[in-house]
Symmetry: C2
Subunit: 110 residues, 2 copies
DNA sequence: ATATCCTACAACCAAATGGTTGTAGATCAG
DNA sequence: CTGATCTACAACCATTTGGTTGTAGGATAT
C-alpha cells in the first residue's frame, strides 16, 4: 500500500475543517446524498454566505468536491480527505500499540 | 460495544487541537515517552509560555494528561482522546461504505 | 425580455488563536 | 537561606475565524 505523504499544512486544513459542528454535519450529509450549496444553506440557521464559506473550507481540505450543474453547484463527499485524516490517527494508534507492547516486554523481562 | 456519546463541543476541541503541527508533534512524542512541559518547550522554536498553551489545548481536548511530579509537570498521551477522534472518522467511513453498497445495489437491480 | 434563483465575492465586525513578555509561586540544590 | 528551575497566568498584539450584509453575474422559467 502506497501511503502518500501527508503534508503538515494539509493536515492542518483537514483537522481544522473537521473542528466545526456545522462542517462535520455537511460532510455527513453530502456523503449520504447530493446537495447544492443553497440546499445545504437551507438546513442551517445562518446566512447563505456563511454556509458558502464552510463549503469552501471543506473544499480546501479535500473533504468535499463541487461540480457545476446548470446554475447550481453540487457538493459531494470526497473519500480521499477522510482517508488522510484516518491515516494519521491510525499512525498514532500504531505508535500507541508499540508503546503498550514495549511496556509489556519490559514487564515480561522481569 | 458501548459507544459513549461524543458531544459536539468535545469533537470541536479534539479536531481543533489536532489542527496544529506543533500540537500533533507533542501528541506523538508524549505517546512514545514522558516529557515535562519544559522538556517539550526545549524542542520547539517558541517560548515556554507558547508551548504551555499548546499543552493546555491538548489537555482540554483529552489528548494528553498532566501529572505533577515534584516541581515538574509530566505530560503523557491519553489514548481516550485519540479513540474518540478515530471513532467519528470510523462512523463517516461506515456511512461512506453504506453509500457505496447502496449504489452497488441500485446497479445490481437493473 | 424580465424576473427569479443560485452562486461568488468583497467589506466589515466580534471573538478566538497563536504568539510574545513579564510577574509570581513552588520546589529543588548548594 | 539563596539562587536556580519549573510552572502558572495575566496582559498584550497580529492574524485568523465565523458570522453578517451588500453587490454583481450567470442560468432558468415564464
Amino acid at each position: 500500500m502506497v501511503v502518500d505523504q501527508l503534508s503538515e499544512t494539509e493536515l492542518d486544513r483537514l483537522f481544522q475543517a473537521l473542528a466545526d459542528a456545522t462542517r462535520r454535519d455537511i460532510v455527513r450529509r453530502v456523503t449520504i446524498g447530493e446537495y447544492s450549496v443553497s440546499g445545504l444553506a437551507a438546513l442551517y440557521a445562518m446566512s447563505f454566505a456563511a454556509v458558502q464559506k464552510h463549503v469552501a473550507v471543506l473544499e480546501r481540505a479535500s473533504l468535499i468536491t463541487k461540480e457545476k450543474r446548470g446554475r447550481e453547484q453540487i457538493v459531494r463527499g470526497n473519500h480521499d480527505g477522510l482517508q488522510k485524516a484516518r491515516q494519521l490517527l491510525d499512525e498514532y494508534e500504531a505508535i500507541w500499540r508499540q508503546r503498550v507492547e514495549r511496556i509489556a516486554d519490559i514487564l515480561a523481562e522481569k
